[in-house]
């Protein structure tokens, strides 16, 4: 029995003919070059696998080399290391069934043609796989050498054609962008008028020369140009009555299959020179979008038109999350390519007349020009975010990025470009902090918060040189004996105005500004010096110091710790670094390696706020850690005997089984301590024993025991 490829369902007749030609060409090429076609066969049933292998071996027009995997896992591992030309997969495997199998294989090798093999009774699975991106499907029992070989060659040819079409489309799009920029950023006005003199195309410079919006200019009839390409001087009177001297050249051309004239307008007056000067910097070299200066210039014109026309332009500020990390991990070339692709995706969501530019490294600004309702801004923002949520193919990786958008609306949020930009930036910053909210609208309240943040940032920049930071120490106490075992060093800030600002407010600013590096290093040194003084006085306490994500990921971390220990003389075993789960989970491999290096130095590590992050017990055993600190939120209600008690109990047992010590945080009542005693918790800290105090206070508490 012959198997006829069921291509008609997904391809038109013409395409099918083309595919056959391509398959034939590939076939001929394969024959000429004696090309070996690598096939990954995913099939758990030996008999079915043999059938396919024999059918391919018997095919004469090309040479197939088959590698068979019996499970999804082994096939994914194979695809991780190899690049077959085509994959044949049975979707029902011992470790995965149906569409899940298809999705996993397709995800692992998105550009490799995939042919599904199904049982006769299950052909619907094959059809749905083809709909989802598979090249074709085979029905077991209907496999014959010639048709199978041809089907695989056709699948490869089709995939190659798709790839080249995708590349072609990308080339066309890039070319379109370049052309668009060339025309739209041109220092000369460029108009196309039809035979009746009606304006049918106008670039931005023309809009500026006539003082009209794109929409208005497109409704004007200027007339047919009577001068030829040699050029002449004319005067343009804009809608405000201002006259500009302009050098005009015109040329007959075609437009949409009709006769038309292209009119070039170069301003002669002095004001054009400023534009000429900065036009060299008009385009961002990486993305081809407007630079900062050009964006401001164009946005200013746009706001001018909006004024009096009852239009409400909206300004969007789109920031990419984690761009810095991607740039560091994949290199600047890939980083630049990512920015270009992102700029391109955003641009595709915009309409004619919208303006887009790139500001900071990962900041895109968009002015949505002709909005009549604020809701339009919402729609466009959502479309942009959706387009960016799609995986981006970069350096043979499928990269998933997240972004956030801040929106400010003219005129309610500002009437000048700089006001709208700054307010959209504030809103974007807010979107970053808000859980789950990727689009955030500006409100006046945000400015107040932003102003406070700005003021605090300025003060914090002066705080370290002006020695405004200090450390407080909270005792960590043995649950059974009540003796102080150690202390946790906590950062305090004495501001100029003596205002009490807690670490919860100022530490995030230190982290965002990078000031945490300097402050963290100071704190580490100061705490080690103090602890060494205690040791010299015979009070051998273990010092716990918190590390922020920025510090933990710093390449200087080990050097700083080593230097703090050496300079103070404190033994490494007296130091414990506290990290949150989320810090460790950001880059697991890097965390494993850093923790190992710390352990080699003899420094202990504790996981802080355990239970509040994305804990993965699986990773606990991989991380070289010594202590778990149970978060205060579990301890608070531990006496009520509900879930919190159960979790605390379980965490203590889990930690002990893994050979870890347990510290309970936030102990404020004797009943809580009693619970911890009963369940064998090692140490605790909290107001019940002592608030954070001075070094002298610690000595007194130690001696009073």
């Amino acid at each position: 029995m012959y198997f006829y490829p069921k291509i008609e369902r997904v391809q038109s007749k013409d395409t099918y003919t083309q595919m056959n030609k391509d398959a034939t060409r590939l076939l001929a090429q394969g024959h000429q070059l004696n090309q070996v076609i690598k096939v990954l066969l995913v099939e758990d049933r030996l008999a079915d696998a043999r059938l396919v292998e024999h059918a391919l071996a018997a095919y004469l027009d090309a040479k197939f080399e088959t590698h068979t995997c019996k499970t999804l896992l082994t096939s994914l591992e194979y695809l991780n290391r190899n690049s077959p030309n085509v994959i044949i997969a049975d979707l029902n495997l011992p470790d995965s069934v149906g569409s899940d199998t298809f999705e996993q294989i397709h995800k692992a090798a998105p550009i490799t043609p995939l042919v599904i093999m199904t049982a006769h009774t299950d052909s619907r699975l094959g059809v749905s796989a083809v709909d989802a991106g598979a090249q074709d499907y085979l029905i077991k029992g209907e496999i014959e050498s010639q048709s199978l070989g041809r089907l695989l060659l056709q699948a490869i040819a089709r995939q190659n054609l798709r790839q080249s079409m995708a590349q072609h489309l990308q080339d066309v799009e890039s070319s379109r962008t370049r052309l668009h920029n060339l025309v739209d950023l041109n220092i000369d006005g460029i108009l196309i008028v039809n035979r009746d003199g009606k304006v049918i195309f106008a670039n931005r410079r023309s809009e500026e020369l006539f003082g009209l919006s794109h929409h208005q200019l497109m409704h004007h009839t200027l007339g047919r140009p009577v001068s030829d390409e040699i050029g002449s001087e004319i005067a343009i009177t804009d809608k405000y009555g201002k006259v500009r001297k302009v050098h005009m050249r015109s040329q007959a051309t075609g437009w949409d299959n009709d006769d038309a004239y292209m009119v070039l307008l170069s301003e002669i007056s002095d004001s054009s020179r400023g534009l000429l000067r900065h036009s060299a910097n008009a385009v961002d070299n990486v993305t081809g979008l407007f630079s900062r200066d050009m964006f401001y210039e164009q946005a200013r014109l746009c706001l001018q038109h909006a004024q009096g026309n009852n239009l409400t332009p909206a300004l969007l500020c789109v920031n990419l999350d984690s761009f810095r990390r991607i740039n560091e991990a994949m290199g600047h070339v890939s980083g630049d390519e990512l920015l270009r692709l992102v700029g391109e995706r955003i641009r595709r969501q915009l309409r004619a007349g919208d303006i887009i530019g790139r500001f900071g490294s990962d900041e895109f600004l968009i002015l949505l020009a002709p909005l009549r309702r604020a809701l339009d801004a919402d729609n466009v923002s959502k479309k942009i975010m959706e387009s960016l949520a799609e995986p981006i193919a970069l350096a043979q990786n499928d990269l998933r990025i997240t972004a956030r958008t801040g929106v400010s609306i003219y005129p309610q949020d500002g009437v000048r470009v700089d006001e709208l930009v700054s307010h959209a930036q504030v809103a974007s910053q807010r979107a970053k902090q808000a859980a789950g909210g990727h689009v955030h609208y500006y409100t006046h309240d945000l400015t107040q918060r932003s102003e406070r943040r700005f003021q605090l940032e300025q003060q914090l920049r002066r705080a370290l040189p002006q020695q405004q930071f200090d450390l407080a120490y909270q005792p960590i106490v043995d649950v059974q004996s009540g003796q102080i075992q150690g202390v946790e060093a906590l950062l305090r800030w004495r501001t100029d105005s003596a205002e009490q600002i807690g670490p919860a407010e100022f530490v995030p600013i230190l982290e965002e500004t990078g000031l945490i590096n300097g402050v963290g290093e100071w704190a580490m040194r100061r705490a080690c010096e103090q602890t060494q003084q205690w040791w010299q006085a015979g009070v051998e306490l273990q010092l716990s110091v918190n590390l922020s994500p920025v510090q933990f990921e710093s390449p200087r971390l080990l050097a700083i710790i080593e230097s703090a220990l050496n300079d103070s003389g404190l033994p490494a075993k007296a130091l414990c670094l506290e990290l949150t789960e989320s810090v460790l989970m950001r880059n697991i491999e890097a965390s494993v390696s850093t923790l190992k290096a710390l352990r080699n130095k003899g420094v202990a590590v504790a996981i802080d706020d355990f239970g509040t992050g994305f804990s993965s017990l699986n990773y606990l055993k991989r991380f070289a850690i010594d202590t778990l600190k149970i978060d205060r939120s579990f301890i608070r209600d531990v006496m009520l005997g509900g879930h919190d008690a159960a979790i605390t109990h379980a965490t203590i047992d889990l930690a002990h089984n893994l050979g870890l010590k347990v510290v309970a945080e936030g102990v404020e009542e004797p009943g809580q301590l009693g619970f911890l005693k009963t369940h064998g918790c090692d140490t605790y800290q909290g107001y019940f024993f002592s608030r954070p105090t001075t070094p002298e206070g610690i000595l007194e508490l130690y001696k009073s025991f």
Binding site: D196, G197, L222, V226, S227, D228, T237, D238, M248, S250
Partner: protein, 122 residues
């Protein structure tokens, strides 16, 4: 003949001798350096008369920066020539120093203009 006031339109009417539809033109110019533009006005008027012989009106309008002419909103480029009749309205702009080019354009448009206008010279 031209009025000395920079805002006042100047009309150069030609006598109608035959009962044909009147061709009507307005020629908009910048107000500065009027003398230098005299020969352009003559040249354009001559071309208009040659393409549309017969009764005609040819009006020259000088605009200036502060001019409050009703046409200001629509005449955005000077020099501009507007053929008001025969309709539909046609406009031309740019450098009018080449009479042959203007002649070609006006003739093309005349050929495609409304029915009923009969040119007796052809």
């Amino acid at each position: 003949m031209q009025d000395e006031s920079p805002h006042a339109p100047v009309s150069v009417d030609r006598e109608s001798t035959r009962e044909l539809p009147t061709a009507s033109f307005k020629f908009y110019l910048s107000s500065n350096d009027r003398d230098a533009q005299t020969h352009i006005i003559d040249s354009v008027e001559t071309v208009c008369a040659s393409v549309f012989p017969g009764p005609a009106s040819f009006e020259v309008v000088f605009s200036s920066e502060d001019a409050e002419l009703p046409e200001k909103a629509t005449i955005m480029i000077t020099p501009s020539l507007v053929r008001l009749s025969p309709g539909p309205e046609k406009r031309y702009f740019g450098d009018f120093s080449d009479p042959e080019r203007l002649h070609v354009l006006l003739s093309e448009d005349r050929a495609s203009t409304i029915e009923g206008y009969i040119h007796t010279d052809e």
